[in-house]
Symmetry: C2
DNA sequence: TTGTAATATGTCATATCTGACATACACTAT
DNA sequence: ATAGTGTATGTCAGATATGACATATTACAA
């Protein structure tokens, strides 16, 4: 996780669950957020590997450029479902997904 | 995946995405569904391992018995987010999650 | 500089998921 | 049988995620 991502994490959005205070997240909330960030990073590298722009990927996935950007940035508004479905659509196998997670 | 789960899959709900026809699912839709079923199975075995009822688990997770049942059954209305968050709350590590997925 | 392509950010109506509830079903034990 | 306990299923109002759009920011040419 690079500095930019970390900053986003700290900055806004992710004040989830019952703990209202700044960065006062439970372990499982933290784990879920970090998981999403990993998947977002993977999505980005897969996209670049295929030399696609966010707009092109958006059309391919029948989504929108802004949502791709949010996925890659680890935005709190994106679901695991969308991330995983997108990775599968890009051809990631279940085993590869598992490697990303571990 | 046992027969009951498979039946549920075929029976109702999962007619997702652009393909309207019965069981006419794309590869990535299929992969996502099977992933959710695996996670649901894992949730159930973890719960039983802890000798909890669905109601007890529901209270622990601040959810409801019916939603636990749906998670374990692979109901199309449950998100990956909820499944993964629940598994993390039950103490599953990221590495263990990765093993379940692979 | 100016232009322009790529990416980031904010907002919103609609779609989907959520906990809660009611109720049905399955299985024991009495 | 019937009472009790656990699980499944259906529904719904409220909560959250979605694609779409507008606009901002960045990066890099000409």
């Amino acid at each position: 996780m690079d500095a930019k991502k970390r900053k986003k994490l700290e900055a806004k959005g992710w004040r989830v669950g019952s703990a209202r205070d700044f960065l006062n997240l439970s372990d499982e909330e933290m784990a879920l957020i970090e998981l999403k960030i990993s998947l977002g990073d993977t999505l980005q590298s897969k996209r670049k590997q295929k030399k696609m722009t966010q707009l092109e990927l958006a059309k391919f996935l029948k989504s929108s450029q802004s949502r791709i950007a949010k996925m890659e940035a680890g935005d709190p508004s994106v679901s695991l479902d969308l991330l995983v479905k997108s990775l599968f659509s890009l051809g990631l196998s279940r085993r590869e997904l598992s490697k990303v997670i571990s």
